[in-house]
């Protein structure tokens, strides 16, 4: 049996003894609270009269009903179900007797309440198991004391504690009061993987009923007494700043309370990694209702002026402070394209070198050289950016959808001049995140507007404000060069990658490690167009380019594209080049082999136009085969077969759903996703121009296969997204005879 020391993460298990006497604990917001009637519907039991707090994650009612707090915000990955499943399995309760609540931001009780980097389950895994196992151990100890028997002889099953020899048993509910008084054990046993009975079984979304009946779940659904509605106007172009405004007419319109400019960040505020703020000063319009504010917004006359080049001090996540330059100017996509093509011809920063690539290219029998590009992309979360703020003299309550609340708390405190300890952040369900809701300038805006108005305010971005507000996926450019010898062995690879304003390069990813001679170079060009994490940052482009390129190299070598990759991975496993390769060649090959088998690859059916792609990112491995038809000058994707290795799968059907989503999202962005600029003005403002994938364009069928694994779980939100771009491109080549190098492919 595994045992784990609880002190590793001990603050999570601090007991609040004042709660041990029972009664409802913690003041959850109306939005997140589980009202008695709903709990009755959701669980097999009635609401208990008393709750006993076992630790920050678990409270148990006297009747055995268990409430499990889900620590991280839910943005569609289904962690609000799967994180509590982990707790429940180690606690050893029946899932039907569990109700789940969204925890508020609480840095004393929980660690890392982030979503991003496909890390919620990965980093939550051991803490969640410990939370469940600790409470289970305390229940056993309580029973041992009550019955005067050794704790080692006590067993649990489905919320029942049993001592077989004396034929005694009790429910968790009966022992909850006593257990909540017990000292948190120093060491607790964890279940063996084979004994899991909730983890690895499909459980329905705990918010499913609320979603399909339209209950308030999202930040934008927040309405409170006396609440005002605010919207902002930001500059129409990147490179412009606020100059002046004529608000006389707008201020006199019905329902309008006030109109004023706000500076989003203080001048001396040192920005953390997620404090990207596109427009440092915006105009706030505050009124009684959304429609009234929208009408006033149309009549408001704001003058903007170009800004001068400026710098920002930034403290990136886990790295040292640096100075970032934001250049003046009104940028154009055509100029971006030309600048990137020019940069790619120059010597860039060498990031990795193995062997002697220059010599290998000279000796090559064949050289394949290709360039790939991709545009800026908009996240386009279906729930536009919004937040509720009620700022008082020395405290603030904030409610809404947010990926990185802990970091936001720090930033908001600094802007408001209120201590972090007096800022309460309630986390709602996110109507999509994909990275966008990590950059919480709109939380500052909401808080500053509330502070000025001395009233509760909900800030809502219009779709246009959202789409033209920055924090995009970068535009990228990468050139690949490969050398094949006379026997069609890959002898050298040169990758030159850059972008505006960031480089996409991951120098130590495949095929690094599998090629004797390898050179990776990186460059970037400053821009005033802001960027932020976008579902599998940088990987989402590198995978598309690398896996398209390898397809073409395999063809030049006269090899099957899967066998070609497997041959390289065999080398990377048996005789790796370099020591910094950041992938496990065996697991990488594993997903390729699984997708080969499940897609019946190479079955001789020549009517199928098939594209393969595989990628490692966010600690998981994914391989995909796209089956495409070409009809009426458009691609029809009949089927996507996907193999994925993310270690232990917590909730298989929900995990499958998330993988399907990554694939559909990737196909949409590969085919249609694009934002361009003329004189700093984004050329798309809403979904009439910004094309999103629709049902008729998504695959007819998606099949997800998980590699069976005992490895601790890793992420799923991102890993199926990057490879599908190339699987689509490679299938398009089979379907049309034409290679696609520049995204979006658009049909």
């Amino acid at each position: 049996m595994n045992t784990v020391k609880t002190k590793i993460d001990r603050r999570t298990f601090i007991k609040n003894t004042s709660l041990a006497g029972g009664g409802l604990v913690l003041g959850f917001s109306w939005l997140n609270s589980c009202k008695p009637k709903e709990a009755e519907k959701l669980s097999a039991m009635e609401m208990p009269e008393e709750w006993f707090q076992m630790n920050g994650y678990i409270k148990i009612g006297e009747n055995g009903l268990v409430t499990i707090m889900s620590p991280n915000p839910e943005g569609g990955q289904n962690i609000k179900t799967s994180m509590p499943m982990i707790v429940a399995d180690e606690l050893d309760v029946n899932w039907k007797n569990v109700v789940v609540e969204q925890a508020p931001l609480n840095t004393d009780l929980y660690t890392r309440q982030f979503i991003g980097g496909s890390n919620a389950i990965r980093f939550g895994w051991s803490g969640l198991r410990m939370a469940g196992a600790t409470a289970r151990q305390m229940l056993k100890e309580a029973a041992a004391m009550a019955w005067g028997v050794p704790v080692a002889e006590i067993t649990t099953s489905g919320g029942i504690i049993t001592h077989q020899t004396s034929n005694k048993s009790a429910s968790y509910g009966e022992m909850a009061s006593a257990a909540s008084q017990i000292t948190v054990p120093e060491e607790v046993p964890l279940k063996e993987i084979k004994d899991f009975n909730i983890i690895g079984t499909s459980r329905k979304n705990v918010d499913g009923t609320k979603i399909v009946t339209g209950k308030p779940l999202f930040g934008i659904d927040t309405y409170q007494d006396g609440m005002l509605t605010a919207m902002i106007i930001h500059p129409p172009a990147f490179g412009l700043k606020f100059k002046s405004m004529d608000d006389a007419e707008a201020k006199s319109m019905p329902g309008i309370m006030n109109i004023f400019p706000i500076k989003v960040l203080k001048d001396d505020y040192v920005r953390q990694h997620f404090d990207t703020c596109t427009f440092l000063e915006v105009v706030a319009i505050v009124g009684k209702t959304t429609w009234e504010v929208m009408q006033a917004k149309k009549t408001l006359q704001v003058a903007w002026e170009p800004f001068e080049t400026y710098t920002e001090e930034r403290v990136p996540y886990g790295r040292s402070q640096y100075t970032m330059t934001i250049p003046a100017g009104l940028e154009n996509s055509e100029v971006h394209t030309a600048k990137m093509a020019d940069m790619a011809t120059k010597k860039a920063t060498e990031v990795r070198r193995d062997g002697n690539p220059e010599t290998a290219f000279k000796k090559a029998a064949k050289v394949v050289e290709r360039t790939y590009t991709a545009p800026f992309l908009v996240h386009n979360c279906m729930e536009p950016m919004n937040f509720f703020a009620n700022v008082k003299e020395n405290s603030a309550q904030l409610i809404g959808p947010l990926q990185k609340a802990e970091l936001t708390e720090h930033a908001v405190a600094a802007q408001l001049g209120i201590p972090e300890s007096n800022i309460d952040i309630q986390l709602t369900r996110l109507g999509g995140g994909y990275g966008r809701r990590s950059y919480a300038h709109w939380v500052m805006e909401a808080a500053l507007i509330s502070q000025k108005m001395k009233a509760p305010v909900k800030l809502v971005y219009s779709r246009e404000d959202d789409m033209t507000g920055g924090i995009y996926r970068s535009t990228y450019h990468v050139s690949y060069k490969a050398a094949l010898d006379a026997d069609n062995n890959l002898t050298a690879v040169h990758v030159n990658a850059g972008g505006i304003p960031e480089s996409p390069l991951y120098a130590n990813r495949f095929p690094a490690g599998a090629v004797d001679n390898y050179l990776a170079e990186s460059w970037s060009i400053d821009s005033n167009i802001t960027i932020g994490s976008f579902r599998a940052p940088r990987s989402n482009f590198m995978a598309s380019a690398e896996q398209s390129f390898l397809d073409e190299v395999a063809e030049a070598a006269g090899k099957d594209p899967i066998d070609f990759r497997l041959e390289l991975l065999k080398k990377a496993k048996e005789n790796p080049v370099g020591e910094r390769n950041d992938y496990d060649a065996e697991r990488y090959a594993g997903v390729l082999q699984l997708v080969k088998e499940k897609s019946n690859w190479g079955n001789g059916d020549t009517s199928l136009n098939r594209g393969i792609s595989a990628y490692f990112c966010h600690n998981s491995y994914a391989a995909q085969v796209v089956d495409m038809r070409w009809e009426n000058d458009k691609p029809i994707i009949d089927k996507v077969t996907c193999a994925i290795d993310c270690g232990i799968v917590i909730n298989p059907d929900a995990a499958t759903n998330l993988c399907e989503g990554g694939i559909v999202d990737g196909i949409g962005n590969a085919l249609y996703g694009e934002l361009t600029f003329i004189n700093g003005v984004p050329q798309k403002r809403n979904f009439d121009k910004y094309r999103m994938i629709r049902m008729s364009e998504s695959p007819r069928e998606i099949e997800i296969h998980f590699v069976e694994s005992d490895v601790n779980p890793t992420g799923l939100g991102e890993p199926t997204f990057p490879p599908i771009f190339a699987a689509v491109a490679n299938a398009l080549y089979k379907a049309t005879g034409k290679r696609h190098y520049d995204q979006p492919f658009v049909f």
Partner: protein, 151 residues
């Protein structure tokens, strides 16, 4: 401002509001029925879909003054206990990811099945193409529509 008596989910609601106000904001801001979602404001995403009579309409483009005597049904009123066949199918297939667009998807799907109880794949796609799901749950939505059609 003008007074309107609206029939919403089987109840009459008296609202005093500017006649140009779209039903989307009447529902959300004035009646606090927040299941109907704001997504784009220009009838391109379908998140705000409601039923006007038996028809699925985009409430962001429907001024309150145009409603008159017609019955409005929102996601909250689609069934009394969340047990409309489409809602049940959505739960059975466990469709939602983030869930934001799903009320609109369900309202479009339920209107489709009312006028065409056994739609073909193409008919489902045609009806549902106006509803964007940014999370990419389309394959599940299609399965759920078929499941509801069979029930």
């Amino acid at each position: 401002m003008a007074t309107f008596n609206l029939k919403i989910n089987g109840e009459t609601k008296e609202i005093d509001v500017d006649p140009s106000t779209p039903m989307l904001w009447v529902l959300r801001d004035h009646i606090k029925l927040v299941g109907t979602k704001y997504g784009c404001g220009i009838a391109q995403c379908g998140a705000c879909t409601i039923h006007l009579g038996d028809n699925a309409v985009r409430s962001c483009q429907l001024p309150v003054s145009a409603v008159g005597e017609q019955e409005i049904t929102t996601i909250e009123g689609l069934s009394e206990n969340g047990d409309h066949p489409v809602q049940k199918a959505w739960l059975e297939i466990d469709v939602p990811q983030c869930g934001y667009c799903q009320a609109g998807q369900i309202m479009t799907a339920s209107a489709l099945l009312k006028r065409n109880p056994h739609p073909s794949d193409t008919e489902i796609e045609t009806a549902m193409n106006g509803n964007i799901c940014r999370c990419g749950t389309y394959t599940r939505i299609k399965t759920a529509v078929k499941t509801a059609a069979e029930s």
